[in-house]
């Protein structure tokens, strides 16, 4: 048995399994990102809204989600929550790829809680005078947000959001516990089939690292290209 068997990683069924896992991890990240950003923006709006009830709603969401480990979220959205659905919908859902759907639900809600806080702090970085001035001009709260505050807040917010995307990318690995055949699941599967632990996890490590470093690079590029304007 050679110490490190590259051929296993370069072709054949185990190569295919690992690559399929990598692709699914990337897909999970992409779908979650698309769903989480609008949700996070909404939650941030709630937290900043003039209404006390809406603010309380926003705080509850963020705290309830952030204070529970992602692993618990995953198990809840797979084994727990779908069971509460009406029978017909449940059957339809279970006939499809319920594993991936549950993982996306858990990841979206979890990531959105963190992103909401980043968006909120980005918005708060815009001097309050701007809000007051725009309100004085007669714009309504959501108009002020859309036309005055958010365009300025974007530059402050994007780098931390990219960093949350990095967390999201790594967090997809937790989906292995609910049977989603992502990168970690595939690596473990190849490990049990071949007993080549080092090769399987070296592949996973390289895959995670490649995407992670790309995301990190993107964040620092953005910060240089679009620095925060301090008038």
């Amino acid at each position: 048995m050679p110490f490190f068997d590259f051929s296993l990683l370069l072709s054949g069924q185990y190569h295919d399994a690992l690559v399929a896992g990598f692709v699914l991890s990337v897909q999970l990240t992409a779908v979650t990102l698309v769903l989480a950003v609008p949700l996070a923006t909404t939650v941030a709006m709630l937290r900043l809204s003039p209404s006390r009830v809406l603010r309380a709603l926003g705080v509850s969401y963020v705290e309830a989600i952030r204070n529970v480990p992602l692993l618990a979220h995953m198990l809840f959205w797979y084994f727990g929550a779908p069971e509460l659905l009406p029978e017909a919908l449940k059957q339809r859902l279970y006939a499809g790829n319920i594993e991936a759907i549950s993982a996306v639900a858990a990841l979206t809600l979890y990531t959105a809680a963190y992103m909401a806080e980043d968006i909120r702090s980005g918005i708060r970085a815009v001097p309050p005078g701007q809000m007051e001035a725009a309100r004085a001009l007669g714009l309504r709260f959501l108009q002020v947000m859309r036309l005055v505050i958010l365009p300025q807040a974007v530059r402050v917010t994007i780098p931390p959001l990219i960093s949350q995307t990095l967390n999201l990318w790594k967090n997809t690995s937790i989906a292995t516990v609910i049977g989603v055949a992502e990168m970690m699941y595939r690596a473990a599967q190849v490990e049990s089939a071949t007993f080549r632990s080092v090769e399987a996890f070296a592949f996973a490590t390289a895959a995670y690292l490649t995407i992670s470093l790309t995301i990190t690079g993107l964040a620092s590029w953005y910060q240089h290209r679009y620095p925060v304007r301090t008038r």
């Binding site: 084994f79 279970y94 690995s173 292995t176 055949a181 970690m184 690596a187 473990a188 007993f195 080092v198």
Partner: protein, 277 residues
């Protein structure tokens, strides 16, 4: 968990390079420590499971482990392991012995040694009756559920090549997913399937164990590669259990007609550490 596994694999790989020449005799180590750490599943009734009243790990394999510890005159320490972590934990020396529903097969012989066979079981598939499935072949293209890192996944793929397999950390999660309808079948060792089937209570009438086995598994205790001293003691204890009739009593206690499993006869003995094919 998986990441930790990977890291420890790397560390172990590095350690193995140095340790080959310097490794002490494991049997002497166990006696010096005064305890033997036995890796069990703790989630696989009746081999090893947590007694809901006492919170202790008990079971057929736990009793065998206790007999071995008694023979050595040391304290048994039972450590619960995930299915996929069993062999790495043994290789890295974090457990001294595996009594963890471990299948003895040729592939694994390259990695660890095995004791005499301690149990023989088929592997079967449990399905819901309303799926209309009653034979293995009908599982083609369907989703079945089982545990990660065991022989269940490769065996069902061999038996039904087109099957879609989803795996979980424990057999009980896979079993729960079956009950919730997230797949049509649940694959496990027959002994465990029979027990799970009994656990269903009145709902069991909606379920069916497909009679055809996907494989026959010889379960044995796992011993670190090349530890002849440990293997001698373990096999000796197993032979003594067989000779004294204790082995039969253990079988009756955990698997016999008065248990939930109701196995009528014991079709194997603790005699051989050889397996076919």
């Amino acid at each position: 968990m998986q990441k930790r596994l990977f890291l420890s694999t790397l560390v172990a790989a590095a350690a193995a390079v140095f340790a080959v020449s310097a490794r002490a005799d494991q049997l002497a180590d166990i006696q010096k420590k005064g305890e033997i750490v036995i890796g069990v599943l703790g989630t696989d009734e009746p081999n090893s499971f947590v007694d809901p009243k006492t919170r202790d790990v008990v079971g057929y394999e736990v009793d065998i482990g206790r007999a071995i510890a008694a023979k050595l005159g040391v304290k048994p320490v039972f450590k619960q392991l995930a299915v996929a972590a069993r062999i790495p934990e043994l290789q890295q020396g974090r457990v001294d012995l595996l009594a963890a529903s471990l299948t003895h097969n040729k592939e694994r012989e390259a990695l660890i040694d095995f004791s005499l066979t301690t149990f023989v079981t088929g592997q079967k598939v449990l399905v819901k009756k309303d799926s209309g499935i009653s034979q293995l072949a009908q599982l083609g293209g369907k989703k079945v559920l089982t545990v990660k890192g065991g022989t269940q996944e490769p065996n069902i793929r061999k038996a039904v090549p087109t099957v879609d397999v989803v795996t979980f950390e424990t057999t009980q999660q896979a079993f729960l997913a079956l009950q919730q309808g997230k797949g049509v079948g649940y694959v496990n060792d027959e002994a465990s399937i029979v027990d799970d089937f009994a656990k269903l209570g009145p709902a069991a009438k909606n379920y069916l164990i497909i009679p055809q086995s996907i494989s026959t598994e010889a379960l044995a205790l796992g011993i670190r590669k090349g530890e002849a001293g440990v293997k001698n003691v373990v096999d000796g204890v197993l032979r003594d259990l067989e000779k004294s009739g204790e082995a039969d009593k253990l079988f009756q206690k955990w698997y016999g007609p008065n248990t939930r499993l109701k196995f009528q006869s014991r079709d194997f003995k603790f005699v051989s550490d050889k397996i076919d094919g």
